[in-house]
Amino acid sequence: MTNEDLKIKLTELMPSAVIEEGGEWLTLNIEASNWHSMATILRSEVTVCFDYLFCLTCIDWKSHLTMVYHLSSTSYRHNIVVKINLDRNNPAIETVANIWRTAEFHEREVYELFGVNFLNHPDLRLLILPDGWEGKNPLRKDFEDPINMIKL
């Protein structure tokens, strides 16, 4: 499906989502509270069928955090990007690990590196960082570690 067709289809399915064009793929800006129900639609609606979550990450904009989900369809080969802004002081969002199983690992990574709390996640623990690492989120922009310097 081309981006134009996809845009029409997605507007039909999710009237509340703000669709942004201009990049290589369509970008859906949505509210954190709507995410889980919209993710279910994106995955299960046969005409779009986004069954492959190939990238899940987060960006620290200093004023807020943005969750970025890259989705693809293995049957139609079209792609979209979903973006959700989160409050930087208390970031929380519903997990999608029950929709795309790969999210379980990726969300654990974002949880420890950005401190995003994934609600209802089956197993939200540290994955890469050592046990007992509390309160510091290395990929946030204000993270400084004078001993183990990361910035070059």
Binding site: F54, C55, V68, R77, V81, L127, K151
Partner: protein, 371 residues
């Protein structure tokens, strides 16, 4: 802190594999819950080789950050560099000369063969056969020699730069690659005689670690791990980059979903890579090996995503630019990370001894997973 060894109330036992273990091929730590010999749960503990490459890249320029990525999946170093170079080129809309594209694709495919060779040797070694390792390294050595001559390095080549390749190919390059193709073709039957046709080997691989196509997609598997389950996911075919859409090659698919299917996908992929190199090696066009670019690269404000097919699967490079000389944020979607997440799912209920076969056929490279 999880308890790392001992017996639980249900009669289960918790054991550790790694972080230093011959079968993990690196510093991967698996905490395995077993009941008798049956696996109940596999929990990977990562981070032993985490270098925070994504954070480091935020303070490196668009020319520098490519070199760090050779240290992620060091067996696909060329292809990692390629992905980064393509992403920067996409942002700057640089047209890469055809000669550079040809060289890049030949190098990518040589890397893929070298990576699969090492995997094949190590895979057989995991299952108790030591000799194949030396046979695999004999062929891999020829590729490393070719790399050394043209790129100046054997493992972390750093040969791709935004706009093309760092320098032109060595005058002896074409002859050596053709000699390698001959060597590969004459020796390949040994691989099947020694390992593939071996009944003991087959018994240890067939119906071990079965992964369905639906689960492969849901767990985000890519590369040979997913193609063994019949999922068509070759980026070179479905989202072609460089000159891949003009080349004749097949996407290798198997439907078994077990360890043996994943094994066969990689073996046959080596033949397809040879086929690609044969189409290109005599036709490298004359011209520049690098496009003219500015000394200081500044990507426009925006987001750029480029995916390529490495030896292990889909690598994604996601650059968020604020218009400066360094990226604001970089994310590497590494194939190994998603492929590892499926290990717990396919290992549950099987015997502990089979875990090595499953890990082997997922082809995990730990620096790629930890980044």
């Amino acid at each position: 802190m999880v308890e790392t060894i001992g017996n639980t109330a249900e009669g289960n036992m918790i054991i550790n594999v790694g972080p230093q273990h011959p079968a993990t091929h690196g510093v991967l730590h698996l905490v395995i819950t077993i009941n008798g010999e049956t696996i109940q749960k596999v929990e990977p503990h990562l981070g032993y080789i985490h270098r925070s490459i994504e954070k480091m890249c935020e303070s490196l320029t668009y020319r520098q950050f490519i070199y760090v990525t050779s240290r992620m999946d060091y067996l696909s170093a060329h292809i990692n560099n390629h992905a980064c170079a393509l992403c920067v080129e996409k942002g700057l809309q640089i047209e890469v000369p055809t000669r550079a594209q040809y060289i890049r694709v030949i190098m990518d495919e040589l890397t893929r063969i070298a990576s699969h060779e090492l995997w094949w040797g190590a895979m057989a070694m995991d299952l108790g056969a030591f000799t194949p390792f030396f046979h695999a390294f004999r062929e891999r050595e020829s590729i490393n020699d070719i790399m050394e001559e043209t790129c100046g390095a054997r493992l972390t080549m750093n040969y791709m730069v935004p706009g093309g390749v760092m320098q032109d190919i060595h005058p002896d390059f074409q002859r050596k690659v053709k000699a390698f193709i001959q060597q590969f073709k004459s020796k390949f039957s040994e691989y099947n005689e020694m390992v593939t046709g071996n009944i003991i080997f087959q018994n240890r691989m067939k119906q071990v670690g079965v992964l369905s196509a639906e689960d492969a997609i849901s767990y985000g598997c890519s590369g040979p791990a997913a193609r063994g389950s019949g999922v068509s996911c070759d980026i070179r075919k479905i989202y072609p980059y460089e000159i891949y859409n003009t080349l004749e090659f097949e996407e290798v698919l198997e439907t078994g979903g077990d360890s043996f299917a994943r094994y066969m996908v990689r073996l046959n992929e080596m033949h397809q890579s040879i086929k690609i190199i044969e189409q290109l090696i005599d036709n490298i066009p004359e011209g520049d090996f690098q496009a003219k670019t500015k000394a200081v690269l500044k990507l426009p404000k925006g987001e750029f995503y480029q995916r390529v097919e490495t030896a292990r699967g889909e690598l994604g490079v996601y650059i968020v630019s604020e218009g400066g000389t360094t990226p604001y944020r970089i994310k590497f979607r590494s194939p190994g990370f998603s492929n590892l997440s499926v290990l717990d799912h396919i290992a549950r209920g099987s015997k502990l001894g089979d875990l090595v076969a499953m890990m082997g056929t997922l082809d995990l490279v730990i620096p790629d997973i930890d980044r």
